[in-house]
Subunit: 342 residues, 2 copies
């Protein structure tokens, strides 16, 4: 009987370890993590910066987000652990998050002023500096996969709108009716925000949810991907930083891989993702320091709310943000793993 | 009679001085020009990099391009000389070149695979780091002015397609039928290129014609603008570097203003316009040196054909390219002025 009780306790502990890891949040200060010598690969993900202050979300909602971040990490980590490429890892993670209605990308994305989900995504390969992106698409189930097709099967980097959709269809990607992306919860929020006065409506825009992933694989290759529905009630045709190489996404084996989230216009004007790489390359500064400078010293004073995740070629990672929260997580080949909100 | 003859000769000389300046081309080596202490303002323009080797174009065609470059310089210089802003100067110059059928922007732009002129443009204010851009538009007569409206009258940076057109119309800009942009010459070239095999069709894409301008005004403010029809026979929805802040256009009073032209995908992947600024800021290198590195050492080995014009905060200018030719010119407050092709 004693052994049986012990086994039950061990079983309980092992199944609760995830919950313990999730609630053991170091107050958002653990935003830069050094790689150990054994780190063959690592993966960092985000589900958007912004959101309400700590204590506003229900515990159930927090747990739902943390659970999905954990599942996303598991998908990408499996690929990296088995020797897969960082490109495959970031695409798979972002696909999963696009399919998850909790995040503002793919299914569950916010709606434009016209009530349509106009989606943007990009991906970049740090080994070759090749990149692909789509913007303003409404019928491609997984925009990040369309971005990868643009990168690998077209001479182009950025395709928009009907051109991107025709290409994605010809490439055999799954096409959906625009209504596929609209969840009842999002439609309700959109209808509410339409009724609000413009000032209050603007608060709605700050809802987090852009998704992204960066990874270093066992071959030392970096990759980054980002996907979003943009801002709630955004103007038809408005494009943010997510599909812009250098603004929302950048990867270069000689420096780092970056995925951004936040008030996209500021990220475009500050060329944020490439700026991280440029400061590392041209100033010889560590990733941790450049991320802090860009997010807190450059963007914050301008009103550029948001955050970014990045991994450098040595496997050092950052998850830096100047907002109340950023859904995020990381996993490394040495076993370290965490999912966090605040 | 002697006096009359002298007057006629003087009249002839004064009216031929333009022609003399145009044909006195220093073999493309005069690509970086230092400002004198008296330089209160300066303006640099381009009408696209690429094109056939020297000796291929007829003298008449060359003179037609040089004449239009000269007229464009006069428009921008008048604004800067009278104390106008660099933003007004670059917008006015690019508007003029969009209206000129010789260049691949606005009227006379190349056509997509579907036979439509899909236009992209952007503008950036070095003083405020504000920026505006439109992409994939087919009914706005002057896309660069739509880009400026986005910058000054919307919270956004980049609007595409129907969204951009609806906004431009609401802002009171002149809207035209898509057929307005199509000249008989371009339609003929498009029809020819459709008949060519894909390999030869690709050569067609290298036709220069993207237009751009950078300026420093008497208040020390920098600005940059770029406008293009992209590549002949491009895929519907393909967006190049011209409307991408950081890739085709960038301006920052603390460094420089840049406008690019060339194989857009390489300019996006290399974040060219911002890279010029970043190398100046983070490495403390002069504009002349960073332009040479980016155009010849970074882009050229990758196959990234093209060029750029730039002016720094001291009024030093560069016009660097790795192609056979780049239509270009500059004018400075100390009186120096030149228009060149090769």
């Amino acid at each position: 009987m004693k052994t049986k009780t012990l086994l039950i306790i061990l079983f309980f502990i092992s199944h609760c370890s995830l919950l313990i890891a999730q609630t053991d949040i170091p107050g958002g200060s653990l935003n830069a993590i050094s790689a150990s010598m054994n780190n063959q690969w690592c993966l960092v993900i985000h589900g958007g910066a912004g959101g309400p202050p700590k204590g506003t979300m229900s515990v159930e909602d927090e747990q739902a987000y943390l659970q999905k971040l954990d599942e996303a990490l598991a998908i990408g980590s499996n690929i990296l652990r088995n020797g897969g490429s960082s490109l495959d890892a970031v695409e798979s993670v972002v696909r999963f998050m696009e399919d998850c209605p909790l995040f503002n990308a793919g299914k569950g994305a916010v709606l434009t002023e016209k009530g349509v989900a106009e989606l943007d995504a990009s991906i970049m390969d740090g080994k070759t500096l090749r990149a692909g992106a789509v913007a303003g698409v409404t019928t491609i189930r997984n925009p990040v996969s369309a971005a990868r097709k643009v990168m690998e099967h077209s001479p182009h980097v950025l395709l928009i709108d009907g051109g991107a959709e025709g290409f994605a269809k010809a490439q055999g990607l799954e096409m959906v009716d625009p209504s596929y992306f609209i969840t009842p919860k999002i439609r309700e929020r959109w209808e509410k925000s339409k009724k609000q006065d413009p000032a209050k409506g603007k608060d709605q825009e700050k809802k987090p949810g852009t998704v992204g992933a960066v990874a270093l694989d066992q071959n030392g290759n970096l990759a980054a991907a980002t996907s979003t529905g943009g801002m709630m009630n955004k103007m038809h045709g408005r494009i943010g930083d997510s599909p812009i190489i250098g603004a929302g996404t950048y990867a270069n084996n000689s420096t780092c891989a970056v995925s951004c989230t936040g008030y996209g216009e500021y990220f475009i004007r500050n060329v944020v993702a490439y700026d991280i790489s440029a400061m590392m390359e041209y100033r010889g500064m560590p990733l941790e320091e450049v991320a802090r400078i860009v997010i807190h010293e450059k963007l914050k004073p301008q009103g550029g709310e948001g955050g970014l995740i990045a991994v450098d070629k040595e496997g050092r990672i950052v998850m830096e943000f100047n907002t109340n929260a950023m859904f995020r997580g990381y996993m490394m080949s040495d076993g370290r793993k965490e999912v966090m909100i605040y």
